[in-house]
Symmetry: C2
Subunit: 266 residues, 2 copies
């Protein structure tokens, strides 16, 4: 959706991102630069913290084994049909990890930015694991097969520790989110989520206010709420000057205010 057809990243045909018409919306252009930047390193692994301890040989070997692949917006990276049989590295674009209920409603578990590693459950032997992963932008992803992974990871003790740490953080985040879900009203959850997203998100150099690139619908998925309810709280925030909105974008104007709301009960 952002870049029409031309997002192949790991391959050679990197069409100049700069040829696109610049956005009008506001004095922001982070994404252009992000694409340019992540197009650079040919290795899928370098710069991913998890792999930092690999020997350069291992790294090279793995790199050769992990052909980058392009998924475009809307495509499923994995699902029940193609259960997680590999470790994925998101190189460019954005991926949404989600779960589905019988009635078709979905909850977004996470929205991944470039550099993220996913499918880690594989590493841990979890087999049946009903998460889905969908590209929400055209994305390039490298994947390591299960066997590759076993060879290079489970042997390396440092790796195991790192993975533990990774999972530990995830546990902490999930527990927090669970209690938020259980005992906080939508407004608070929304504020909290926005703040958290802003932290993670690509930081714009051109403004001091953080921006989050998400539609109300996507945000709703993350909040476990309806699009409508989310829209309503967002407009509320906007009129209170806590945020500013642009189609598919949210600018955080007053993070202190949001933090206050995120802690309140109603």
């Amino acid at each position: 959706m952002t870049a029409p057809g031309l997002n192949d990243a790991c391959s050679t045909t990197i069409l100049s991102a700069a040829t696109r018409p610049s956005k009008v919306w506001a004095p922001h252009e982070q994404e252009v630069e992000i694409l340019a930047e992540t197009g650079e390193p040919f290795s899928c692994l370098s710069a991913v913290e998890l792999f930092a301890d690999l020997t350069t040989q291992d790294m090279a070997a793995l790199d050769r084994m992990s052909p980058p692949r392009l998924f475009h917006s809307g495509e499923l990276v994995f699902s029940q049909a193609q259960p997680v049989s590999a470790l994925f590295i998101l190189k460019a674009g954005r991926i949404r990890i989600f779960r589905v209920a019988e009635d078709g409603k979905t909850l977004t578990i996470a929205i991944l930015e470039p550099g993220a590693v996913f499918g880690e459950m594989l590493l841990v032997g979890q087999q049946m694991y009903d998460n889905y992963a969908e590209a929400i932008e055209d994305s390039t992803v490298c994947q390591l097969s299960a066997t590759d992974v076993e060879e290079h990871f489970l042997s390396n003790p440092k790796m195991a520790v790192k993975i533990s740490r990774l999972l530990g953080e995830q546990v902490a985040r999930l527990e927090e989110r669970l209690t938020d879900m259980a005992l906080r009203p939508l407004s608070a959850r929304t504020a909290a989520t926005l703040l958290k997203l802003a932290e993670t998100a690509p930081r714009s150099r051109f403004t001091q206010s953080q921006s989050v690139k998400l539609t109300h619908e996507q945000l709703a998925g993350l909040l476990g709420a309806t699009r409508e309810a989310t829209s309503k709280t967002m407009s509320d925030f906007a009129t209170r000057n806590l945020i500013r909105q642009g189609r598919g974008r949210i600018l955080i104007e007053d993070s202190a205010g949001l933090r206050r709301i995120s802690r309140s009960t109603f």
Copy 2:
């Protein structure tokens, strides 16, 4: 409150659990036997899967370093005030892990049965971690200090893998619970939770129906709902003959029926 003044824990006086009067309620007496049984091995570590790979020397060493301590019902095992600085092993009794919101409402993260290991976040370097642990029965707990743990664990690569697996399972469970919370009505969550508890819980040899030893209030804490709402769905289940109730106990009569409900949308 259950056992008045006798909480000396680290000392040797472990009063015989068998002296207590047997319960009347129903043809069940699991708990008496559980206590008798777990009273036996003086080692805190044996029989805990996580430690299976330790050398016998290591095991013995750790064992010496981890004096069992008694907490009685209602006591906090750890909290913000005494942040998690150790790894705990629950030897007997039951512990509730929970989180608190500003307004005092709490969500129960887990209810642990004997044999469970908790405080694992320590292993992973998570420092600030605002979970509380409270004994909901008189419980004996062994603890390993942070330094002990580091010495004997982080060195051992097999351990790291095991810990990863442990955390991985936890992640999976949490994600599931999160989506349940987000998009399933109370009735479904209740049914699902009951089933899950029944699996974990000590299995009675005297009846085929599984029993869960929990008050409505405790269950509510786990569900993120009020006691009243939980009570209501429970009575509903009871009249539908899915369960039978006894003060502080729930008997699962028709797990198939519950499973059906747990999957339904309303």
